[in-house]
């Protein structure tokens, strides 16, 4: 699954730590999601999308292998 978390974060001009604090996870988790090493749960994906004020499927998309 690919995502645009890094892009959305850059648009909002916030750090990984700020996003992590707002969502209630560690910075390591945000970094792992951004680099595609960790696929978040539905709840976490919804939380992230809500924070950016975007629909979930515009932040997270299935890639060819899914």
């Amino acid at each position: 699954m690919k995502n645009t978390v890094r892009v959305e974060r850059a648009i909002m001009d916030i750090t990984q730590q700020q996003l992590a604090d707002a969502i209630g996870v560690s910075r390591n988790t945000i970094n792992s999601i951004e680099s595609g090493r960790y696929v978040p749960s539905t709840v976490l994906a919804l939380k992230i999308a809500r924070y950016f004020g975007k629909p979930t499927d515009s932040v997270f998309q299935l890639d060819e292998n899914d």
């Binding site: 996870v25 560690s26 792992s32 680099s35 978040p40 976490l44």
Partner: protein
């Protein structure tokens, strides 16, 4: 929507480490002060029981307490570490059983098994589980943090 965590608070991990360090210190002090043959067998047995129970309690606290920030990625790392531990424990028990069976056949010329094996495995199991699971989990966590830096 929140999944209830069955892990103990992070403070319990600190208590566990304190107990573990205390146990090591007591063990070293005992060796320095008394050596091996200066106190009775009864006392030595009681001390060994207390040490064994303290070790299990401390490992229980260390392994089953939350990290400072316990989130779903850490939970997934825990699950993976537990999975690997299960594989290793099953393989280890299988190999040990086969090895001891072969050993008893070789020594006694019969198919007798060690009568204390099951008790020994029961005593060792919690320590073995902790010693495999916790370092594996910490290693995965460290690797994940290291990948972050790259």
């Amino acid at each position: 929507m929140k999944n209830k965590s069955i892990l103990m608070p992070h403070t319990c991990q600190k208590i566990g480490w304190c107990l573990f360090l205390l146990l090591i210190l007591v063990h070293i002090a005992k060796r320095i002060l008394y050596g091996t043959d200066c106190y009775s067998i009864e006392l030595a047995r009681t001390m060994a029981h207390i040490e064994h129970i303290t070790l299990i309690v401390s490992l229980f606290f260390i392994c089953l307490s939350k990290e400072k920030v316990e989130d779903e990625m850490i939970s997934s790392l825990r699950l993976r570490a537990l999975g690997y531990t299960a594989y290793v424990v099953f393989l280890l028990f299988l190999l040990t059983s086969i090895f001891l069976e072969c050993l008893s056949d070789y020594r006694l010329g019969s198919d007798m098994t060690n009568p204390y094996l099951s008790e020994l495995l029961l005593l060792v199991l919690p320590i073995l589980l902790s010693c495999l699971y916790y370092p594996m989990f910490k290693l995965m966590l460290r690797r994940s943090r290291k990948e972050e830096k790259i």
